[in-house]
């Protein structure tokens, strides 16, 4: 279970998160939508203390931290409850695929090397990369790299996996393979928070959809509620803008 209370964060005096309250149940898949700059990434990063919130409370599992008094040790403990999949993969460049997945297990979880290896191979098989164990990230396509990123997170068996636009750096033809891996693990009951612009994915996979704008959660609901009957004008306009582009050819094209 995840519980956020009154999470606030400012950068150079501009408030990016204006007191976020959010509860996520175990096994729930939550997607976060919202325009660029609305604070989605910052919210994820506050959850695992890559960014230290200015105020509020963060709870993941049984670990509860008052962000204003958080010690380094508490931040590390909270961080070990979660794992993250990055927009730009951020695979360890000097380590092979297998080593990338094993690294966190050995170093942070203190799993024995042999067990770490066994487990990593299993997870890599699940994301379809059993034949790339000894490749370096630079030798993989973006889609393959992101699948390693997912395996790295999955192997840690965390309370929650945080996805920050996991497909937005990928070439269009590679998006599918990554989304299908995420879908598979979503069905296995792993708690996930996914920031994404893939609307059909959000509709299909999420238990709950949040819409963020200007540092607040404007609206939340089931995919059905958000996509078909948004209550807020801001949500409606955002969804229209996102889907509108694909429905109507751009004006310029019609003039020519």
């Amino acid at each position: 279970m995840i519980n956020l209370k009154g999470i606030k964060k400012s950068f150079n005096k501009s408030e990016v998160l204006k007191g976020i309250n959010l509860k996520i149940e175990k096994g729930e898949v939550v997607t976060i939508l919202g325009p660029s700059g609305s604070g989605k990434t910052t919210l994820l990063r506050c959850l695992n203390f890559l960014e230290k919130p200015d105020g509020g409370m963060v709870q993941i599992g049984n670990i509860k931290v008052d962000t204003e008094k958080a010690t380094k040790k508490e931040m590390l403990t909270i961080r070990k409850q979660s794992a993250m999949v990055f927009q730009h993969y951020n695979l360890f460049a000097h380590k092979t695929v297998l080593q990338n997945v094993m690294e966190g297990l050995i170093v942070a979880k203190r799993v024995k090397k042999k067990d770490a290896r066994y487990r990593s191979e299993l997870v890599l098989e699940k994301v379809g990369l059993k034949d790339k164990l000894h490749h370096y990230p630079s030798q993989l396509s973006g889609g393959q790299q992101q699948r390693v990123g997912i395996a790295r997170a999955l192997a840690l068996n965390p309370e929650v996996i945080l996805f920050d636009e996991p497909t937005s750096a990928l070439d269009p033809e590679l998006v599918g393979e990554v989304l299908s891996v995420i879908k598979t693990i979503a069905k296995e009951g792993i708690t996930m928070v996914v920031v994404t612009h893939e609307m059909s994915f959000a509709r299909e996979v999420s238990d709950r959809v949040l819409f963020m704008d200007g540092g607040v959660i404007v609206e939340e609901g089931t995919p059905l509620e958000i996509f078909h009957a948004p209550k807020e004008e801001r949500t409606r306009r955002f969804l229209q803008r996102i889907s509108g582009d694909s429905f109507f050819p751009p004006l310029k094209e019609r003039v020519n």
Binding site: N48, L50, K72, L76, R79, K80, S82, A83, M84, F86, H88, N90, L91, F92, A93, H94, K95, E103, G104, V107, A108, K109, K132, H135, Y136, P137, S138, Q139, L140, R152, A153, L156
Partner: protein
């Protein structure tokens, strides 16, 4: 005055005997300097209180003054210091028994530490923050992330800079001849003045240094290719 070409070979054979001293004067300072440089770089990266200012001052001063100054100040300064201390406590240390090479090694190590700290620091900075964040995201501590993820990449990226510094210090060791160290240049100077064939002797010394440099650069090239193979894609 004509050039006595056969004498270049004679001089070469004589000078090359001093190669071990030049190598000691190059390798020892770089090894000690690496430890100093790594420590200082981390102090500067983490902005450790109090130490931070001292580290910055150390790097700035040693990089901002000619290395011959470091050698001279230490060569004249340390014996003076020891004399004072030993006369105060009746230790009876004879400073003139301390081999000169020790002073040179201390001076060069301090200088190497300053230059290496700058190289290591910029190597660390050039590793993307994404690597650090990924390390944190799998639950590593600051220390683990630095030593397991960032530093290995930073050091690999810095190989060309290390090579330049290696060559720089190989050449800088020639200054030691000014405090009558008998390394390559010192040996060349002796050969030159005993035979009054200055040009030939220094040509021979130049060839030795040149050959060494080309070797060092070749080795470094191969090493870099091996160590940074992870960053070259396409072999899938």
């Amino acid at each position: 005055m004509t050039i006595d070409i056969p004498f270049i070979w004679t001089a070469f054979k004589e000078i090359i005997k001093s190669l071990p001293i030049t190598l000691i004067l190059t390798l020892v300072p770089l090894a000690i300097g690496f430890l100093i440089g790594l420590t200082v770089a981390l102090v500067r990266i983490y902005k450790t209180r109090f130490l931070y200012q001292a580290a910055n001052g150390y790097v700035s001063f040693f990089r901002g003054t000619p290395i011959i100054m470091h050698i001279m100040v230490i060569y004249y300064g340390i014996p003076l210091l020891i004399d004072q201390v030993s006369s105060k406590f009746d230790l009876n240390i004879q400073t003139n028994k301390i081999p000169i090479i020790l002073f040179v090694l201390i001076a060069l190590s301090l200088a190497a530490g300053a230059y290496l700290s700058e190289i290591i620091r910029s190597g660390i900075i050039s590793v993307s923050t994404g690597q650090l964040e990924a390390a944190y995201s799998v639950g590593m501590t600051k220390y683990q992330a630095m030593f397991r993820i960032v530093l290995p990449q930073a050091l690999a990226l810095s190989i060309p800079n290390f090579t330049n510094l290696f060559v720089g210090f190989l050449h800088t060791s020639s200054i030691a001849f000014l405090v009558s160290e008998k390394e390559l240049t010192g040996a060349a100077n002796i050969v030159a003045s005993t035979n009054l064939k200055f040009l030939e002797a220094f040509i021979a010394a130049g060839i030795v240094y040149w050959g060494l440099t080309i070797m060092v650069e070749g080795i470094s090239f191969l090493l870099e290719k091996k160590v940074t193979s992870y960053s070259r894609g396409g072999v899938s």
